[in-house]
């Protein structure tokens, strides 16, 4: 296969340096690809896609009553991360999650950070996902965010930035494991030559994290279940996949009842007590008695049982307050406040539209900035200035002026790119990276994570709902000069 025509177009590329020379960590893979016959890579790609369909690794398309299922597009060219860089990212992620966890605990208790005027009171009071129902809650081990999927990006300056924290119910980890499985079938010899850090122990670590938080007084081995909204949820594949890999029951709301402040599941032999629930249902739908009354998915009384300490929930309800993009802007200050350290992984500079000076700057630069709704996810409610029309900019200007608290803006990042198979050749496509962080008695970071790729030409939006796909992420086990670097940090 020809690689000579591959063009960097001025972007930071994860596989080639500025002068177009293969980076050392990418050389073996690029040599392997270069040696393939024409059309071979496409055949590999089609075989991989066929396998995804055959294994039913699909998501449901919302609003499609025909029950259409699609595969999450997958690209065979992986993203490779050097060992040293990853070790540094891992330390940064652990630092950040510690601070965020302390922040959430503080917000639902004494709010010292507000009293000390580090985070403004009005920001918390106006946070859409602040949950007064959670005030005074004491989750086991003091951990609120057990599973986090932080989004990282690399900008044109070559530095890694944190884009979002995703502290509620992050999804996508099943694709990391399935992608790896596909890649091992496709490039076994490259794997052998590179020593890629394995990801297959994620389900064991996840189960350990969940068992760690079992309430005191649970007898014997704790009963852990995964709570799903059901087969029509777009992430249902992942729910069943994780339950299967952990060997725990996959339950729906209708399988659970609360009695005497304990949670029970309905089995063929009557009721069995449940100790830990890995819930993949949003706060709003968790318990119609505590949150949305019209929820058909949740379990009435669940939050009361949680409050009584009879059952543990992962993640804890109420975390959404720290997913607010206005609150996000204060994370570097949180790290300093709670840990007395400087943030290792920088935030993307963020303009908060409720501040007059920031708002004026944003309104004057709508054609250059990315504007985001503070509490939306999935690539919705977003304006990418350089790619937008004047009419779209005017629309966002109106929205920002009407609801300044609901919008933030950031410089348009030149996200780094990875070669991606487009038709019969490789083209650069923008990527981000979502590592998964587990927080129980210890903190584990999955090496690598989900690399999401914007498959549309020039697009900066990697979300699957907006034409995004995924790639495998290879974190090398040792530095290229030979020293083993496995479990540092």
């Amino acid at each position: 296969m020809q690689l000579e025509d591959y063009a960097l177009q001025g972007f930071h590329d994860e596989m080639f340096d500025e002068s177009g020379v293969a980076r050392p960590e990418a050389k073996l893979l690029l040599d392997t690809i270069g040696a393939l016959e024409d059309g071979q890579l496409q055949r590999f790609q089609r075989a991989a896609e066929r396998r995804l369909v055959q294994m039913g690794i699909t998501f449901n398309v919302y609003g499609d009553t025909g029950g259409t299922e699609r595969i999450f597009p997958f690209d065979l060219i992986p993203r490779i991360v050097r060992s040293e860089e990853w070790n540094w990212i891992e330390i940064g992620l652990k630092q950040r999650i510690r601070a965020l966890n302390l922040f959430i605990d503080d917000i639902y208790h004494d709010q010292k950070i507000v009293k000390d005027k580090i985070v403004p009171d009005e920001v918390i009071r106006s946070a859409v996902f602040y949950r007064p129902q959670c005030v005074g809650l004491n989750p086991p081990l003091g951990v609120w965010c057990h599973i986090t999927g932080t989004d990282l990006v690399r900008h044109g300056d070559g530095k890694i930035y944190v884009l979002e924290d995703n502290l509620r119910v992050p999804s996508g980890v099943s694709y990391v494991l399935e992608n790896r499985d596909l890649m091992k079938r496709t490039f076994p010899q490259v794997f052998e030559g590179l020593r890629v850090r394995p990801v297959d122990d994620y389900p064991s670590n996840l189960l350990q994290t969940l068992e760690d938080i079992a309430p005191a007084g649970a007898e014997g081995k704790p009963v852990v279940v995964l709570l799903t909204p059901g087969i029509f949820n777009s992430a249902y594949f992942e729910h069943s996949f994780l339950a299967q890999k952990m060997g725990i029951p996959l339950v729906e709301g209708r399988d659970l009842v609360v009695e005497s402040d304990a949670v029970w599941m309905l089995t063929t032999k009557g009721r069995r007590k449940v100790d830990v629930i890995y819930r993949r249902i949003d706060d709003d739908f968790l318990d119609p008695q505590a949150f949305r009354k019209d929820s058909m998915l949740g379990v009435p009384g669940l939050v009361q049982a949680y409050r009584a300490g009879r059952v543990a929930l992962a993640n804890a309800p109420g975390n959404g307050v720290a997913d607010d993009k206005v609150v996000y802007a204060y994370v570097p200050q949180m790290i300093r406040y709670y840990l007395g350290e400087d943030a290792i992984l920088p935030n993307v500079p963020t303009y908060l539209c409720w501040r007059d000076a920031d708002r004026q700057h944003v309104l004057a630069n709508l054609d250059k900035l990315v504007v985001k709704a503070a509490n939306e996810a999935g690539g919705y409610g977003m304006l990418i200035g350089p790619h937008s029309t004047v009419a779209e900019q005017e629309e966002f200007a109106r929205r920002i002026q009407a609801h300044p608290r609901e919008y933030i803006a950031q410089p348009t990042l030149a996200l780094s790119r990875v070669p991606t198979l487009i038709g019969d050749h490789l083209e650069g496509r923008h990527v981000d990276l979502r590592p998964y962080i587990l927080y129980g008695k210890d903190i584990h970071v999955l090496p690598g994570g989900l690399t999401r790729v914007a498959l549309r030409k020039n697009s900066l939006v990697v979300n699957s709902s907006q034409g995004g796909g995924s790639k495998d992420t290879w974190v090398l086990a040792e530095s290229l000069n030979g020293s083993r670097d496995g479990d540092a940090a």
């Binding site: 294994m55 059901g230 087969i231 069943s240 996949f241 299967q244 725990i248 209708r254 309905l266 063929t268």
Partner: protein, 331 residues
């Protein structure tokens, strides 16, 4: 006795039970369409006599007439195999089996899921009846696909409580289908007494046996084909895997393994009903059955199996849960 395992959710028990039934149902439909196609080449009858009985066997006579009118080969095959609006068609059975499998993917093995999914994708891509030359092959593929699923299930899934629910569904469905095929064919074949003892009669009964894959095994045991021996084989045989007696023996084993009750005793109504039916099969004789009227006997048998199905679901599945909304009925 089954060793102590994880508790089984009632919803999951329900889903694996139905998954077993649907796969078995799909296989049986494919089987009797195939045999009828073969039979037609030997003994062309007028279509109403040739194809109508298949609709009657499946118990969907009314809905067929409403939508298709007079039974012709093409209409009957379309209705029974590919019509997605007919809930008992092969296509619908595989879709339902897959929906149930999807809801319990974490309980069954990946290989089982992959096999169900492959069969579903196969029939989805078909949509309507293949050309005549492809039709028999296509039905054979479905049958073999269902066999493969059973083999994969036996070899990759622990024979634990959910496996026994699957098995229970499968064996009850199979007993029901065998009894229906026998009922319809017996009713249709016996009155034409002028053909009794002729080659036609022989070919017809052979077709009945073939439709349950029993022709070769029957020959080994009885040799010459007589209606009495066909009944003996398909109802009373303890060893032939599609005979009613065999299926009820297995179903009885499964229900006792699920409940933990010793064999020969009962705690649940479903165990009691199953035990009664099994004793009856154990100690009655084929001649007694025929003397009392085969149709009456098979009718009562189906009724008893429906009762067992009802009580299994009340006692093990719906008992604990608040909202059972499965609208799946046995046909």
């Amino acid at each position: 006795m089954m060793s102590e395992t994880n508790p089984l959710l009632s919803r999951v028990a329900d889903a694996v039970y139905w998954m077993g039934r649907y796969i078995e149902r799909a296989e049986n439909v494919a089987r009797y369409i195939g045999v009828n196609l073969n039979l037609q080449l030997d003994l062309p009858l007028d279509p109403a006599h040739q194809w109508q009985p298949l609709i009657d066997t499946s118990g969907d006579t009314e809905s067929f007439q409403k939508r298709y009118g007079v039974a012709t080969q093409a209409r009957v095959i379309e209705f029974l195999a590919y019509d997605t609006e007919n809930p008992s068609s092969i296509s619908s059975c595989l879709r339902s089996a897959r929906e149930n499998a999807r809801s319990v993917r974490e309980t069954i093995s990946s290989e089982m899921w992959a096999q169900i999914n492959a069969m579903y994708l196969q029939i989805q891509s078909q949509r309507s009846m293949p050309e005549p030359e492809r039709l028999l092959d296509s039905l054979r593929e479905i049958r073999m696909g269902c066999h493969l699923f059973q083999g994969v299930t036996d070899a990759t899934m622990t024979h634990n409580e959910p496996w026994h629910f699957l098995e229970l569904g499968r064996k009850l469905e199979r007993a029901d289908k065998t009894s229906r095929i026998l009922d319809v064919k017996y009713f249709m074949l016996l009155p034409s007494s002028k053909e009794v003892g002729t080659p036609y009669d022989d070919i017809h009964w052979a077709a009945v046996l073939k439709s349950v894959s029993g022709f070769e095994m029957y020959r080994k045991k009885y040799g010459r084909i007589t209606p009495r021996d066909v009944v003996d084989f398909l109802v009373m045989d303890r060893d032939f895997p599609r005979a009613v007696h065999y299926c009820i023996c297995c179903a009885n084993e499964s229900i006792h393994t699920i409940s933990g009750t010793a064999r020969g005793y009962y705690q649940y109504r479903s165990e009691q009903l199953m035990g009664q039916l099994l004793s009856e099969l154990d100690y009655t004789s084929t001649d007694t059955i025929i003397k009392g009227g085969l149709h009456e006997y098979l009718d009562a048998l189906q009724h008893k199996m429906n009762e067992i199905d009802d009580s299994v679901r009340t006692e093990f599945i719906a008992r604990a849960s608040q909202s059972q909304s499965q609208s799946q009925t046995s046909t």
